[in-house]
Symmetry: C2
Subunit: 457 residues, 2 copies
């Protein structure tokens, strides 16, 4: 077996930021790393070209009657910005107090490594293990996986004969309480640009005569939520479904404390849609969020101008049967309708993905026709986590989005078993991201037990 920590560090040194074209080298390095690792493990590796970042596909074949698991992961990471808030270099992994600090440590290179290590150990211990395994590691998760859907459609025949997908790219609330995620929010993102005068203007010579694009953008953005934090766009909430009773019970068992959550975030108060707790809002409600805003002079000191332009980046999280395309259009139209005279507006749609839901076995609304191997995987997951973490997992919907999960369901008709291996304190998408190594090691043992159960079933 390879040295887990050293291998993970090696992967983390590749700055595989997919959203920024200046990180091409880090993306290529990450692919080579994975390709070499899978080859060492005896898997056959294919680098599948796409329009942007290639997919790493690694296979252990075998008897067609053997069960077949697809293990999903992504080798791309979020940008490290704001870099000045990192205490260590984002792409120079540091091991400290049982954690590894680096961009991508938790999202997704650490958890992904748990499954890779599990497979490596299993095959070393039992080279005859009756299980077919396909690693599908993509490079565009952080930008909405635009190439994965065409890939799945191209390979539909080959991949759809698998039994299920296994992955760890979701959150657990603590190192003691794991969550198996059974639902994900959808997403749609867009860039909005406001343009006023054809150039930045002297605010003394022209101030008072023209609509300031920053002011106009603020006014339009401010109009998108009412005082109860409800999105004011007609039709926005169409398709939002109410939560099942057993889901509310699992959420209660989670025992989240608002005061602890506030302390964790450094906030005096939380702010969710009227009528929902913050924890319900995260999982069961859609959002319209401003990811960034910019315009005019942001440097040191002052620059007394009327800016020529202003921009904002918006993302919406979606639930139930909300359609990302449709919601994106609603938001775009609302922005266009509300932009005042004197301002040119451009709304450019970005990536999107549908919401997802699987009801696990043993619940009042579990489907009677769940495939046996999927059922087995869920049951083995519950058992393995209960044993390794001394506590059964909770089956919860989550606030994040992995559009690929809905795509896999739609194209391959496969459900996913999502074992949460990163934690709130891991600082995903934020400075000083890290991975808890104890959770990582337990995760390997859980993955091994689940894969063994599927193989033996």
């Amino acid at each position: 077996m390879f040295d887990l920590i050293e291998k993970l560090k090696e992967h983390l040194r590749h700055a595989s930021v997919s959203t920024d074209s200046s990180f091409k080298q880090g993306m290529a390095g990450s692919r080579t790393f994975l390709s070499d690792l899978f080859s060492e493990m005896g898997l056959s590796v294919e680098i599948v070209d796409t329009d942007l970042h290639p997919i790493v596909l690694a296979k252990r074949g075998g008897d067609p009657k053997w069960p077949h698991v697809i293990i999903y992961g992504h080798y791309d990471v979020q940008p490290a910005d704001p870099v000045e808030l990192w205490k260590t270099e984002p792409f120079s992994p540091i091991e400290k107090d049982g954690r590894i600090y680096a961009r991508g440590a938790a999202d997704n290179k650490g958890p992904q490594m748990a499954h890779i290590a599990a497979v490596a150990e299993l095959l070393e211990e039992n080279p005859e293990l009756p299980l077919r395994i396909t690693f599908l590691i993509e490079g565009e998760e952080e930008i909405g996986s635009p190439s994965l859907l065409p890939f799945l459609e191209n390979r539909r025949e080959e991949l759809s004969e698998a039994d299920l997908v296994l992955l760890s790219d979701t959150l657990s609330p603590s190192a003691e309480q794991l969550v198996v995620t059974v639902g994900l929010r959808g997403i749609v993102v867009m860039d909005v640009e406001f343009e006023g005068p054809n150039s930045d203007l002297h605010s003394g010579l022209h101030g008072g005569a023209v609509y300031n694009p920053v002011q106009a953008l603020c006014e339009v953005c401010a109009s998108l939520h009412d005082e109860g934090n409800r999105v004011t766009i007609p039709g926005f909430y169409d398709g939002v479904t109410e939560v099942e009773d057993w889901e509310r019970e699992e959420l209660e068992r989670l025992g989240s404390s608002e005061s602890e959550y506030k302390r964790f975030l450094g906030l005096d108060s939380l702010h969710s849609l009227d009528g929902y707790t913050p924890f319900e809002a995260i999982r069961y409600l859609p959002t319209l969020e401003f990811n960034g805003i910019g315009g005019g002079y942001q440097g040191e000191g002052s620059k007394t101008i009327v800016p020529a332009k202003a921009m904002t980046k918006i993302s919406c999280r979606l639930v139930g049967s909300q359609d990302p395309e449709h919601v994106g259009e609603l938001v775009k139209q609302a922005i266009l309708d509300r932009t005042p005279e004197g301002i040119k507006v451009r709304v450019e749609m970005g990536h999107k993905g549908a919401p997802y839901l699987v009801v696990p076995p043993g619940k009042p609304n579990s489907p009677g026709d769940m495939p046996a191997r999927l059922k087995q995987a869920f049951e083995a997951t519950e058992k393995a986590i209960s044993s390794e973490f001394d506590k059964p997992p909770l089956f919860l919907r989550e606030g994040g989005s992995i559009p690929i999960i809905a795509d896999i369901k739609n194209v391959l008709a496969l459900d996913s078993v999502m074992i949460g291996l990163f934690l709130p304190e891991d600082n995903l998408h934020a400075p000083n991201e890290s991975m808890n190594l104890e959770v990582l090691k337990k995760g390997i043992r859980v993955s091994k037990k689940v894969l063994e159960a599927i193989a033996g079933g």
Copy 2:
């Protein structure tokens, strides 16, 4: 006489950006340039230290009974941002089609050079000219002249025995129609910072539970103007005085065309306070303007976060008896009061300056006790401009701010004769700033005539 164009280019090569501490070298280079030039002209030069950027003071003394003119200018310039919109290098002056392109060409190095060249020629032609001249060239005009008030107070005795101040740091509407500015708006600027969670958050894991600081900032900023573009802060308009009839007549003689103004700005529509034309609004009304806004991710692609922070830069232009300190406090308090729970807010006041007004001779409300040499200067200015530009100047209040003019009035009890030598198409405070060389050359002749008239009076 020195080569005017070469000397101006030499000055423009010094990147004297006062607001950004990384341009210290450009500031120092600009001072050395001025110091050398004044020395060559036979003036005695003093570099007066201040808390930030030193003042260049150059004097031609003489008989205490001679008239004494202070010629004001500033050697600092605005930042060149956004640099990518410049067609040439901002600090590599280029002469093209009768213009010089560079940051600071029009604001203020070009117009300032007109007076320097005028004095150089006058002294060459008549070394015995009975006129005392003090050049006062400061380095902090673009950041609100914080050191000039203490300087004036320190040198009150020496400077207040002058008769008037002459300067060119104001706008004329065209190369054919010069304006003598008789009023300036005051200013107060501030930085506003909103802070939410202690770190950027994953918008999937936390979106819906916390108040997004960008959203909160947009809501507060949007609340500061009503639909008629009136500032909604109680007391904001206190002290705003209505305009005199003769001022309205001068403005009409200006003959500004809204359609031409729109074409110049590249706008379909203008946007002034209800009840005022855009041209009235610029000169006679206060504003609350957003000079910049920022927060979260502004780079390529998307980053699905709830940003930890957001900021905006605000400047207010003031008129009449509005007090910058008081208005600044009103705006600050309104922002504090309107900031929602869950957001920490910080408002930091920046530079400020009072509004200014002098009523020139020959108007219905001209003061009867105007000092003879000031009256003479105004009359000579009207005559010189009428002759050099074939059209008498208009006496107008202007929308810009030169806080030093109100300070000079308050501390030294001196009024200023402000001859506008830059034009709307000169792109002040914007990319591709330039100076019209024909106006510059006529400006030299006007300055010579005015100085000769004062000397001979």
